[in-house]
């Protein structure tokens, strides 16, 4: 297969949300055929420039976004494609070291103390990985002090806080207060979860609120452009 054909295969595989050979893919019929991960490994073995592969990732996700906007794709399709890119980035990243534009920034994310819900958080992780961010997941029921410590350690550009309950969303305010008390002012805090709102985000001093995972990507892109 020529390099051009190989890159086109990767692009198509991402658009079809075909992760790997074990994945059933777009319509349940793709199991047993090479998916994005295998194709990227094959391309690297064939000495394709990693930067070229990265360019294909971006182009494929742009097309997925277009299909979603057009109503042809639904969120599960988008998630599948994002997961392809996220997993393939793990394969590609060691080969990109030292080159420019390897990542858009680091995003730390946690479900706050007292809250065990993580579906929304996990979807945000998948989408942000697919969009090219370095994501660190602190898990669920994370105390404010642990979050502040993790921010100090990893120095992310962005921090995501998630909560599903009206009783736990107030913990987000505690995290933001403790960040300030620790003198940390250079991390942008984005909050999300069913009971939260733009108004609540402003009230507790967060830098942004996102209604869903798609908006999380949009908000981060906007913050990145503004910085």
């Amino acid at each position: 297969m020529s390099e051009r054909d190989m890159l086109e295969e990767i692009r198509r595989s991402i658009i079809m949300g075909h992760l790997d050979a074990e994945d059933e893919g777009f319509d349940g019929s793709m199991e047993g055929t090479p998916g994005t991960v295998e194709l990227v490994e094959e391309a690297l073995e064939a000495r394709t420039e990693p930067q070229q592969i990265l360019t294909v990732f971006n182009a494929a996700m742009e097309e997925v976004g277009r299909l979603f906007e057009a109503g042809e794709y639904l969120l599960p399709d988008m998630l599948a494609s994002a997961e392809c890119v996220g997993e393939a980035m793990d394969v590609l990243e060691p080969h990109l070291a030292g080159t420019a534009d390897t990542q858009k920034g680091t995003f730390l994310i946690a479900t706050v103390k007292g809250d065990l819900h993580d579906i929304g958080k996990n979807i945000v992780i998948t989408m942000l990985k697919g969009a090219g961010y370095q994501v660190r997941d602190l898990g669920i029921d994370v105390p404010a002090d642990d979050i502040v410590a993790a921010v100090k350690q990893h120095k992310p550009q962005y921090l995501g806080l998630s909560a599903l309950l009206t009783t736990t969303m107030t913990e987000m305010e505690t995290v933001i207060r403790k960040l300030k008390e620790a003198g940390i002012t250079d991390v942008k805090v984005i909050i999300g979860g069913a009971p939260t709102s733009e108004e609540f985000a402003q009230k507790i001093g967060a830098d942004g609120h996102c209604r869903d995972a798609l908006e999380a990507v949009e908000k981060l892109e906007a913050l990145r452009s503004a910085s």
């Binding site: 893919g25 319509d27 349940g28 639904l74 399709d77 998630l79 599948a80 993580d118 996990n122």
Partner: protein, 540 residues
Amino acid sequence: MAAATMAAVRKALAVDPATRLSADRVQSIHAASLELLDDPGIWCTGERALAVFEAGGCRTARVSEGGRQDGYRVRIPAAVIERALESAPDEVVLGARDPANTLVLRGKEPKVYFGTGSQANLVLESRMASFRSEEAPEQAAMLPVYSESTGSIAHLCRSAHLAEHLSNVDFFIRNVNAQDESIPSEHRDVNIYFAALLHTTKHVQGGLESLEALQPMLRLAELVATDGAEPGGANPGGANPGHADRGATGRDGSVRGLPVSFIACPVKSPLQMVADTAEKVVAIAEADVPLVISCSPQGGSTAPIQEEGMVAQINAEILAGLTLAQLARPGCPVLYGAVPVRARLDNLHDFYGAPEFVHYNLGCVQMARSYGIPCYSSAGVGDAKRPGMQATVEKLPSHLSVAASGAQYIHYAFGLLDRTNVFSPLQAVLDDGAIGLVKQVVRPCSFSADDLTAAVEEIRSVARSSGVFARRVRKQLRRGVVGDAYAFADDGQADRVLERAQRKLEELYQLEPRRLSDATVDRVYAAVPGLIDRRMFDIR
């Protein structure tokens, strides 16, 4: 001669039928209906119908009853009715301009088609307009504004075009009463049917205002049936099994039934056979064209209000019409036409939003199925005057319940408002969305043992990994195991159902009409008298 084949036909919604009556009650109602047809029997004034009944073994007696013109009491013995039920075919094929839109109805099979209905006098057109609150100018909204006009041939053409493009409309009953003064009354039938046939490739059905129009109508239907088919191809076997109706043979040798069928209402409730429509039943039966024997008693005025009385009476009335048709031509294709409605008790108008409307219809569906005769049923009518939430709420109980009952042929389902007086294209688009949901709700559970094994494996796998099933939804979406969202759902905070539906309506109006070929139109004009200037059928 090569055997005729049935090409792919329009897919029906198969359901596990919901029932309201026990088997014992169905039998009891059947017995009650037979009793009514024997005593008092049917009041009949039409000579032609009377002759058919007498030749068929019914007892007739000329009587003079208070307050009525002299007529005949026709007592129909149970044995005559049972024979008629045996000869009525279980399967009725309703052809279409596009053979892929052919409908196959089987009396015992609960497979559902939805279509338009009534013959509304008024058409309610709509457009969106922006409004701003006088008290709070920062509050603005987009809302529909309406204009009501008398139904015309132009409205009918646009309505047929709309029905062509609404995905859940399976058949088209002329739903607008075209009242153009330029159409001579003796030629109304051919012009109305031609307007519909010109703009939809789906099955077209309606009444027959004049019996003299039957032969020109059949000629029109035959010519339309050959549009795009092998020139000169006659239907070798007929689309309705065992009957030589007037279809055509497609290029693949498949049978194409006539693209039209008729509705007749031979019985005026309670139990009075009308001379004019009874004569039409006989003529249409003799022509072997599919026919709906439709009856519409009103619970509380022309029938008992309680459901057992209503169903017993309407069943008797339909059986009387059906027996007349089968005596006129044994084996002619008929539909059991049930349009039972309840009276409002303040003014005795039809009350379609009443729960009893649903109860009556469900009983009729079961009676028809017990006879193995396809059921023409009614759903999707209400009393609301404007499109939107109230109208949809009133329609939904019957849309859902009658579909769940497995009625084969549900009319009235699209766009009717103010009972059956107004046709609203905007409401038709909303109803199409609601019926899309109804189809998802009533489809039967179909998983196999393999599906369950695969599901367990999926749960096991996801529980060990991400905990999120969302990306695995894709296979089920593409298999059609799960449905789409409501067609007009909004992804934001605002509810813009009417705005979205209006936009869709305008998009559908812009689609290219699926007209008959010019050659067929020329042949129709050469062979069928009374058609108005062809430019009056142009919706562009």
